[in-house]
């Protein structure tokens, strides 16, 4: 499918891994319906419907302020930490209402990990960074093995195995970000959310993280927000394109425009706005 060439597709090679699955055959981890997110009175995102497939990489793209990060932060209820933020509509995690009354956001975040835009290792040793999550969650097993496994999975073990006691902040930006991925993996989540994980990294570090994502997608469900369309095209199975609509009061509201297999979004989008965005005519 990487050979597909259309007039709208000049520079973007689509070689998303794995066989494309149709929406119908999808094994959903998250089912989002009619999701709106408010910060106080302000409606940041309006009416999002989408499905996140098990062990797939789903990319969320769109211009700044389109609400893609806001939606991402609903999946692990990170928005709960912002005073005045609330979500309407429904997000099912498997068959459970993520915003149901009985749901403990802390348990949610243990199962659904997150990697942030700026690498944010704790000012502790490399070892303690990885061990933090398992310790906090009372995970059983030998800690040394857990740490090695997580670092190995994040393709960082060989680079740090001789300096586990060193402060994590001594690592390069790219290594720090892989450390943060390892830290997320260490609590054995089912889903990993990534909020522009490469935007603070150089191209080589970015390539490493992208390779890692593809590797991780065998066992984890990954949702990634990115500004980088090529990145979405390279790594994801499915892509959601968001945009910001300005209403008659001049307020911007995020909207999901189109959600489809990545190959289709980048070669044959159904919506004019998607086409304009991916061809660089807008955004």
């Amino acid at each position: 499918m990487s050979e597909t060439e259309t007039t709208t597709m000049k520079n973007i090679a689509v070689n998303a891994p794995g066989a494309p699955r149709t929406i119908e055959s999808l094994d959903p981890v998250f089912t989002v319906s009619g999701l709106s997110v408010f910060y106080g009175e302000y409606e940041a995102v309006r009416g999002v419907d989408m499905v996140i497939g098990n062990r797939e990489i789903t990319a969320m793209i769109g211009p700044s302020g389109c609400g893609k990060s806001t939606v991402l932060r609903c999946f692990n209820r990170m928005n709960d930490l912002i005073p005045g933020a609330r979500a309407e509509g429904k997000i099912l995690y498997h068959d459970e209402d993520l915003y149901g009354d009985h749901v403990d956001p802390i348990e949610v975040r243990r199962r659904i990990g997150m990697v942030f835009q700026k690498p944010n290792p704790f000012p502790k040793s490399i070892y303690d960074n990885i061990a933090y999550g398992p310790r906090v969650n009372g995970l059983k097993g030998k800690m040394d093995d857990l740490v090695e496994e997580a670092l190995t999975r994040a393709a960082l073990w060989d680079e740090v195995k001789d300096k586990l006691k060193q402060n994590a902040l001594s690592l390069s930006g790219g290594q720090q970000q892989r450390l943060c991925i390892a830290r997320a993996i260490a609590v054995k989540p089912e889903v990993i959310l990534m909020d522009e994980p490469c935007s603070a990294l150089d191209p080589i570090a970015t390539t490493k993280i992208e390779d890692l994502m593809q590797e991780l997608a065998r066992d984890y469900t990954i949702v990634i927000v990115t500004h980088n369309m090529q990145q979405a095209a390279r790594v994801s199975h499915r892509t959601a394109f968001f945009t910001a609509e300005v209403d008659d009061k001049g307020e911007r509201h995020g909207r999901l425009v189109e959600f489809d297999e990545t190959s289709r979004i980048f070669t044959n989008p159904t919506d004019k706005r998607t086409e304009d965005y991916i061809t660089g005519r807008f955004g």
């Binding site: 243990r110 704790f122 000012p123 502790k124 906090v136 902040l169 609590v187």
Partner: protein
Amino acid sequence: MAARHSATASGAPSSLARSRPRYGEALIKAVLMLAALVSIATTIGIVVSLLEPTLRFFTEVSALEFFTSTNWGPLFEPPTYGVLPLVSATLITTGIAVVVAVPLGLAAAIYLSEYARPRVRKFCKPALEVLAGIPTVVFGFFALSFITPLLRGVLPFEIEIFNALSAGLVVGFMIIPIVASLSEDAMAAVPAGLREGSYALGASKMVTSLRVVLPAAFSGIVAAVILAISRGAGETMIVYMAGGGQPNFTLDIGKAMQTMAAFIAQAGSGDVPVGTVDYNTIFAVGSLLFVMTFLMNLVSARLVRKFREVYE
């Protein structure tokens, strides 16, 4: 002088030479430097003025007696010059103050920085800092007329009218705002990203506060605590009023004790003739107190540097 290197920013004058002299710049620089020098000069002045009588003191009293004897009665006949009772009293009252102020101050800081809503914080922090503005003589009166009777009514062991416990506790209350306010500043400076990283791993607010924010802010917290200890160790009015004027070499916190600062206040307010041993004694004790707090500040500077976390 420095202005010689700067060219005019706009326009293209015929020459790059300064078109008119800038006296204001030099004047401002001089005034600012003078302001900075005042505090340095004061410190040097204090050291110098302490030094001379202190040296004179040690020509008349042996350093061995001063540092090892446990009897302090320089104004009695025959005089005794063992400073240990004053030192122990200072350490005990300061120790009590730290035991009170550090947990309460840190708890307040954690609450303000991690738990309180912005509106609560906006009200609480200035309110807390008002506590730091209360004159210490008021604290001293509070200790003597409220805390001491309370302790005497509640505690099972004997508490004298003047006692180290009451003095230490109230010094502790006095330094809570220093610990709380400066620690809160340090914790608020911890990047939000670290907290998010912790929450995203399924950590509760409590765990995040204690295991991520607190360690990350550690150097600032150490600085806050040391500053508070220095203030507590040098505190005079409270210990003078509530602790009493009796030098006692004891660990019994229910007894009256005289701290170094309290002795200075007591002896300094009497009519001690200049140049006598009694007069010099005041300075010797003052020097010792100065050296002790100075050493502590040095240690804290070292600690702060050692534990400084750079987040970038």
